[in-house]
Symmetry: C2
């Protein structure tokens, strides 16, 4: 199957324009799974909760999820992308998962970073995985985590234990370390990861966040299969076999997940 990660610079709060830009960028993409950045159509550095509220929407049923479903139907792929979810007056930093047949599910970010804590509620839907299929009908299991979740090995481990073959990882990274950590997340869980990050910078007052790009797809062997630069806009596509994740023998005597010593961990 082919996995695509999209990297670009959204315009702050310009949802309609950003959706059009992403639609244009995806128009020629040949893939089974498309991963978009965190908050991919809204921008990131909200000056106030009112800013976040102004671009929030229900999931499903909002304009962003609806457009994602159009793209998924057209391209016959699964799309994972981040957005501001509004639910009963509360805001979540969420990812929607959609496919050619419509809405699949959502994930609400567990580990909020920096001033996200001022605007969003902590995720309250755990770390679900989703049983999906590629265009040839082959099933695979998709996990989702968002940006700063990478910092917590418990997140990707939970997804691995739930059977994820691939972790889709929408991001708005500003810290420098994720690009060298994701190959380790892939290796230690023996699965694929697909990080879609944004580029550009946003400021509130004299505080500026610069997004680091470097979107990448990593393999169960901990290799970077494809990576983008710090400032390019585009879509990177790589072919991979999700079934590779399922044989978790490390040696003839070691099975990665079976060898965990849950009796000894104090977590």
């Amino acid at each position: 199957m082919k996995v695509a990660v999209l990297q670009y610079r959204p315009e702050f709060l310009a949802v309609d324009a950003n959706l059009d830009t992403v639609e244009e960028m995806l128009s020629e993409v040949d893939a089974d799974l498309v991963v978009l950045p965190e908050l991919f159509a809204t921008g990131y550095f909200f000056r106030s909760t009112a800013d976040a509220q102004s671009v929030s929407e229900p999931v499903p049923g909002g304009k962003t999820t609806d457009r994602m479903v159009e793209w998924a139907r057209e391209g016959k792929y699964i799309v994972v992308g981040g957005l501001v979810e509004e639910c009963s007056g509360r805001l979540f930093n969420s990812a929607a998962i959609v496919g050619p047949d419509g809405y699949v599910g959502r994930y609400r970010k567990l580990h909020l970073y920096y001033e996200e804590k001022l605007h969003f509620e902590q995720g309250n839907l755990g770390l679900p995985v989703f049983a999906v299929v590629d265009r040839s009908g082959q099933p695979y299991t998709l996990g989702v985590m968002i940006c700063f979740d990478w910092y917590y090995p418990e997140a990707s481990r939970t997804l691995a234990l739930e059977g994820a073959d691939i972790i889709a990882h929408p991001a708005n990274l500003v810290r420098p370390d994720c690009p060298r950590a994701m190959p380790i997340r892939a290796l230690e869980n023996h699965l694929f990861t697909a990080t879609a990050n944004r580029i550009g910078a946003e400021s509130v007052g004299n505080r500026t966040l610069t997004f680091i790009g470097q979107s990448e797809v990593c393999s169960p062997a901990g290799q970077v299969l494809v990576s983008m630069t710090r400032d390019e806009a585009g879509v990177a596509v790589v072919e991979l076999d999700p079934a590779e994740s399922r044989d978790r023998r490390v040696t003839d005597h070691n099975d990665l997940l079976a060898d965990r010593r849950t009796d000894a961990y104090v977590l």
Copy 2:
């Protein structure tokens, strides 16, 4: 305080000669904590359990721990090193921790690698941490893990949650990934790591294990403070402040360990 990691090529099963070599290598070392490799005086690739049995000893009270105590007394440092522990007829891949006042404690490797499973019992003492002091009397908390334990983020996370400032990590690494994973272990737990690996190669029949050297000390910021090559023998020493590990604020809004979402992990 100063942390030293020792890297060399032991002679297979030649415990007395190896102890003499390490004693000589340590004779001029100025440090507060010395980390030696896994199975540092015995060699690694046992042809049989009888091989491992032949170099096993009780901990404390065996010749290796006794010699380590002599070194610790002379150098006024803590020493952590790996050895074959015999206990009631069972063998463990253990690390002894000793100081100027004698025996401090032991750790029995939890995650056995490859044919270690044929000779050793799995560790059954959990992941203890040790309250120790440097030469100036400043206290710090020492965690210990052995070699393949690095692959399991649960091990270093458990030590962090128990308050470890530094993880001493005796190793006999043969896989290539640990040197790039340890900075991530240090970063994700905001603590120091000190990996002491061996060099050289050992064979059983036509199977050869080549040890990768690259001993290294990593900082809570995920930086490599000092590293050795794939084939040099020597002792690398670096100065660090273990108290740096204790402020685990990632941003003004994020505390690394307090922000864990234990309600959502399925581990």
